[in-house]
Amino acid sequence: MLFRLLVTAKTFHSIAVVMVLVFTPVAAWGELVIRVTQGNDKPTIIAVAPMSTNGIQVLEDISAIVESDLLRSGLFKIIPRQNMLAFPQNADDVYYRDWRLLGSEYLVVGGLKDSEGKIELSFSLLDVTSQKTVFKHRVTGTEAQIRDLAHLVSDKVYKEITGIRGIFSTRLAYVTAELNDDKFIYRLNVSDSDGAREQLVLESTQPIMSPSWSPKGDELAYVSFETGRPAIWRQRLVGGQRIQLTNFSGLNGAPSWAPDGNKLALVLSKDGNPEIYLLDLTSNKLSRLTRHFAIDTEPTWTPDGKSLLFTSDRGGTPQIYKLTIASKVVERITFKGNYNARPSLAPDGRTLVVVHRESSVFHIATLDLKTGRMLELTETRLDESPTVAPNGAMLIYATKQGGRGVLSAVSLDAGVKYFLPAKIGDVREPAWSPFLR
């Protein structure tokens, strides 16, 4: 394997295990591939001219990455490269008439140049209709950051045209399980949000579950069974240092990082049955939030950090409840259907995403907390683990395709869908990172 796990003697509640991660992307066959299965009705038509490399050797096609990013958002239609009459590199070289004939509303042009050993990418967004430069921008990075530079171009173009902050520079954490000689190998991976540049975070012969990003995007909390029991760990993505946070008898699960980064909501059954607890990450102080003989699990934070939403079967079937932390008051949120679980809130704080069962089929659905309107976003059978992008435009969830776990994406208005199929193993439990810069 491409990484080595070094474990030293360690003590509960103290920093001990050292993980050395070699951050080399695994082979291309392990990466996720995207295909758009359904698009927007009125996409913006855009052309992304191939960036002039000006003699600089780069291994990635920047414009192709930008095209793929914009296409995946579902809000754009891309003018194919083979239809282009010229590949201009700046606004002065553009014959607008050519691009208007192709039907393009916008054009992205740019080129690379060497800047003290780094790569400088200058690019412009041009409005073909008004024949004007919308903006000109410059980004600089190393050769290893070529994909980052491309995603920054996509973010800037997407924001300018849609008014929404782009998520192309964000990342995805997920768990894979690969059957190897009758035993599973579980891996926690992180990739770009397009599935490229997969990096291994943790590998184990025992299950790994429930990854949750820290609000800064520099750490993951997760459940690992490596001790023979479920335990919650936190791990830095750079350097790989990890700490075991819990070691109680019974369930140690469903970690959810608070928006302030200082607390973790989690589930423990040490007092008899699954209850929601709060772990202060500075003082290690644990406080119990729920008190009910039913199952209480899957806590998630409201954006203001004052409340938690969670799944409970206290009403007879799993439904979503809201707990106000200061008062400990619990109120029921979902009523439609006999199974609503795994809540998460879109950044607007108003759109609740749940796993919803309708006539024994599990879908991803949204519930507008203001109007009470419920919308089923997916129609496959075993959809679970939805995770909303930090801009609230899309969500990624786990489903089955050909008997295997794969990741799929859908826009929150259900207009755009695409798969991120893996070539190997079972992919599950995606967790979309927060904005990273």
Binding site: L5, V7, A9, K10, T11, F12, V17, K183, F184, L202, E203, S204, T205, Q206, P207, M209, S210, F225, E226, T227, G228, R229, P230, Q244, N247, S249, G250, L251, G253, A254, V267, S269, N273, P274, I295, T297, E298, T311, P318, Y339, A341, R342, V355, R357, F362, R381, L382, E384, S385, K400, G403, R428, E429
Partner: protein, 168 residues
């Protein structure tokens, strides 16, 4: 409190060694009050491999079922599980050892909710054993939720094999 963790990868090896050790254990102290031809057949076969059997560690074992199945979204012990659990309880009181009850769920429903469901099933088995007189301090319940399927596939048959508690 010290937690010893083997390097990832070693644990799989350790597990397979334990299993190999179990399978070569001779069946000597079976419960006297049950007649089980299956057990006798096993003994005969094992005697044929005399050297291997004699070198294996001698541990008391018994032959009752060690996997108990449940209905969908339920943690109620089925009637047909009781007889075997009564045998286990009697055997454990004569031959005390710590046991693990590993609770599992099928793939339907969310993963952490299924962790809770697997634990409820483990607890149902534990409570039954405790009622039969087994000391609760000897029983550990570990839920694996839907993470370790016994049967793959998304059919009713596979699902029914996966909603289970394994006594180890």
């Amino acid at each position: 409190m010290n937690i010893s963790v083997t390097k990832t990868g070693l644990s799989a090896l350790c597990l397979s060694l334990v299993l190999a050790g179990c399978s070569s254990t001779p069946v000597e102290e079976t419960m006297s009050d049950i007649e089980d031809t299956t057990v006798q057949t096993v003994e005969v076969e094992m005697e044929a491999e005399a050297t291997a059997v004699e070198e294996a560690p001698v541990e008391p074992t018994m032959s009752a079922a060690t996997v108990f199945y449940f209905d969908f979204d339920k943690a109620l012990l089925k009637t047909e599980s009781r007889a075997a659990l009564v045998e286990h309880a009697a055997f454990l009181m004569d031959n005390p050892r710590s046991i693990r009850l590993e609770g599992h769920a099928d793939e339907r429903g969310t993963r952490e909710y299924n962790m809770a469901l697997g634990e409820s099933r483990g607890n149902a088995v534990k409570e039954f054993l405790v009622l039969q007189g087994v000391s609760p301090s000897m029983i550990e319940v570990i839920s694996y939720g839907e993470e370790q399927a016994a049967s793959f596939g998304s059919s009713d048959a596979a699902w029914s094999m996966n909603r289970r508690v394994e006594l180890k």
